[in-house]
């Protein structure tokens, strides 16, 4: 926006008003600078400390025998995160998309509002509470397992996927929908052969964002899949499995600097994954939205 062109020479009160305006502008600039600086400091200090401990062994080996700080890697945690988040995605993706289809295509407005509100509220529940919920529901009786962790992450992911999907479903031009219905195509076929395919990009980017978020979660996993998790790569979802976030949490608490180095390296790996995927997903989403909106 351009400032109106004052032909008057500024003086007295006007000059003071403009000074105030400039000062406020400078403060706003300072705030933005501060936020970016904090991001830079966090990213740089994690990268600085983490990158030096990275090696091929770090990604391909397991924790050294007897919780030995030197040597070994975090393969077990990478596999664990992969299994836990993978299963959570398998549960949350279809569920989230179905909920979104119901809300945006089929539900009467009042029910849609209720479902939307429920999703937003679920999204606001602290993740540790969801962890405790799955703990009392399953783990208290059946013991810890990666599957329980996946369930908690799925509860966190469903609202994210559903809301992202709903948003792109609403962007699908109603002309496409109406054209299909006008040709006598039934509603469900319209949904699966016209609407969902043209919203697919949005569904995928929304899911990617949810995966990035879930991979960075620690709190819901603490009570569900942490104790007795082996430090060998294990992919059985019925066993408690380690995760990268939990490994950082444990390593960070050790006094031994060698363990802290591992914490930084794991944090660097996780941060790269989360930031790169969520940034890519956001860029893709922006481009996709522009395409749909035309």
């Amino acid at each position: 926006m351009t400032e109106p062109a004052f032909s008057l020479r500024t003086s007295g009160r006007l000059r003071r008003r403009q000074l105030v305006s400039r000062m406020m502008g400078a403060l706003a600039f300072g705030a933005a600078l501060l936020a970016v600086a904090v991001l830079a400091i966090v990213v740089i200090s994690v990268a600085n400390r983490g990158a030096s401990a990275l090696s091929l062994d770090f990604f391909t080996k397991n924790q050294a025998q007897g919780f030995n700080p030197s040597g070994g890697g975090i393969l077990f945690a990478i596999v664990g995160t992969g299994v836990i988040v993978g299963i959570a995605t398998l549960i949350a993706l279809p569920l989230g998309v179905l909920v979104a289809i119901y809300i945006s295509e089929l539900a009467p407005p009042r029910l849609a509002r209720v479902a939307r509100l429920a999703l937003d509220i679920t999204n606001g529940i602290p993740t540790i509470v969801i962890g405790i919920f799955v703990f009392t529901l399953i783990v208290a009786a059946h013991g810890q397992s990666a599957l329980a962790g996946s369930l908690a992450l799925a509860i966190i992911m469903v609202p994210l996927i559903a809301r992202a999907t709903e948003e792109v479903l609403l962007l699908v031009p109603s002309a496409q929908r109406e054209a299909s219905l006008a040709l006598g195509v039934s509603r469900w076929r319209t949904t699966f052969s016209v609407i969902v395919p043209s919203a697919m990009g949005g569904v995928l980017t929304g899911t990617t964002l949810a995966i990035a978020r879930a991979a960075g979660e620690t709190a819901p996993l603490l009570f569900l899949t942490s104790l007795g998790a082996s430090s060998y790569a294990d992919a059985n979802p019925l066993h408690p499995l380690q995760s990268m976030t939990f490994a950082i949490f444990i390593y960070a608490e050790q006094a031994d600097p060698a363990f802290q180095a591992k914490a930084w390296a794991t944090a660097f790996t996780l941060m790269c994954f989360v930031l790169v995927t969520s940034l890519a997903a956001k860029l893709a989403m922006a481009r996709y939205r522009k395409k749909l909106e035309g």
Binding site: G25, S45, A115, I125, I132, E253
Partner: protein, 338 residues
């Protein structure tokens, strides 16, 4: 591609009648079931937490809320100091974060040169994407020493006459937790506020500027009042996030019960106390007390979130309609609102 389309069409035609008869109701039923399930989960969470905390509730009743104890040896548990810690850290974080976030949003919508707006906005949002365990790790090993060696001595020497800035300096403690929470909350409030500012009609801003208002007067007179309820909702959402943060806080707050007025002291919050006890509780009563804590946390977050939703809903609809109307009006004149 062509032939597969033709094949598909043939299959469609053959099966259309039969499938269509069940297809529509089936789609409706399946999607409804999914939506009903998503709604039920909320109820199930509430039910499970009530069930799980029953033992502690029978033992301590509402006195749980006013007791400071967390004694695993004598099996005495209470939430008062944790509620205190939760409220203090979340309120301080939101008090620091809100003006910062609004200023960032103003810079992003009003001042930043157009080409860098999207980039800067993305950077601020990236701050929200950093996993909390990574922020916690950074909090103990980088921010903590800075707080202990620079910030706390400085605050102690300048504001030490207040009881809030007294006592020995540690790397962890309430102050470090507040700073970490502030970093987590700023991007949330900033990105919501930015969207709100963007929905304020252009004529209103330009009208104010045309009347001779300076840019700051336009912000104070037009933008902030128009966005106020939305900003309140954004603040509530940020507060909810700060209340529920478990991992990062448990890594930097020192995890001690007791009510201390000094920001330099150790403390604990509801969420971080639960997280800190993951290695197993010794008795059923202790487990039940943890679930009780989770139930309190659920109540706080439900209240905050529903409040925020109520604040957002009405304005959510109004400006969008305004914007669409405005868009249409401008389109007919061959212009675009953006």
């Amino acid at each position: 591609m062509e032939s597969s389309h033709a094949d598909k069409n043939a299959v469609f035609r053959r099966t259309r009648g039969r499938l269509d008869r069940i297809g529509d109701p089936a789609l409706k039923a399946v999607t409804f079931a999914a939506a009903a399930f998503a709604v039920t989960v909320l109820g199930l969470i509430t039910y499970e937490l009530v069930r799980g905390s029953r033992l502690a509730f029978h033992r301590f009743g509402l006195g749980f809320l006013t007791s400071q104890a967390w004694d695993t040896i004598h099996n005495q548990f209470g939430a008062l100091s944790l509620i205190f810690g939760t409220v203090v850290t979340a309120v301080l974080a939101i008090v620091i974060a809100t003006p910062l976030a609004i200023a960032i949003a103003l810079f992003l919508t009003e001042l930043a040169p157009k080409p860098v707006r999207a980039l800067l906005g993305a950077l601020v949002e990236m701050l929200a994407a950093i996993p909390s365990v990574v922020l916690g790790l950074w909090g103990i090993l980088v921010l903590g020493p800075f707080v202990q060696n620079q910030l706390e001595p400085f605050l102690g020497s300048t504001l030490g006459f207040l009881p809030f800035f007294r006592g020995p300096h540690y790397t962890s403690g309430i102050l470090t937790a507040v700073l970490i929470l502030t970093i987590m909350v700023v991007p949330i409030v900033a990105s919501v506020t930015r969207e709100l500012f963007a929905t304020v009609p252009v004529e209103l801003r330009e009208g104010a500027l045309a009347l001779g208002a300076t840019r700051w007067e336009m912000v104070r007179g037009v933008l902030l009042p128009a966005a106020r309820p939305g900003i309140l909702a954004a603040v509530a959402l940020g507060f909810g996030r700060a209340v529920g943060e478990a991992i990062a806080v448990s890594m930097v707050i020192g995890s001690q019960v007791g009510i201390h007025w000094s920001l330099f002291a150790f403390g604990d919050t509801l969420a971080s106390r639960i997280a800190g006890q993951y290695e197993g509780a010794s008795t059923n009563l202790q487990i039940s007390s943890l679930v009780y804590l989770a139930a309190i946390l659920l109540v706080i977050s439900l209240a905050v979130n529903i409040g925020a939703q109520l604040l957002i809903r009405p304005i959510d609809r109004r400006p969008r309609r305004q914007r669409i109307a405005l868009d249409r009006a401008l389109e007919t004149q061959g212009m675009s609102a953006d």
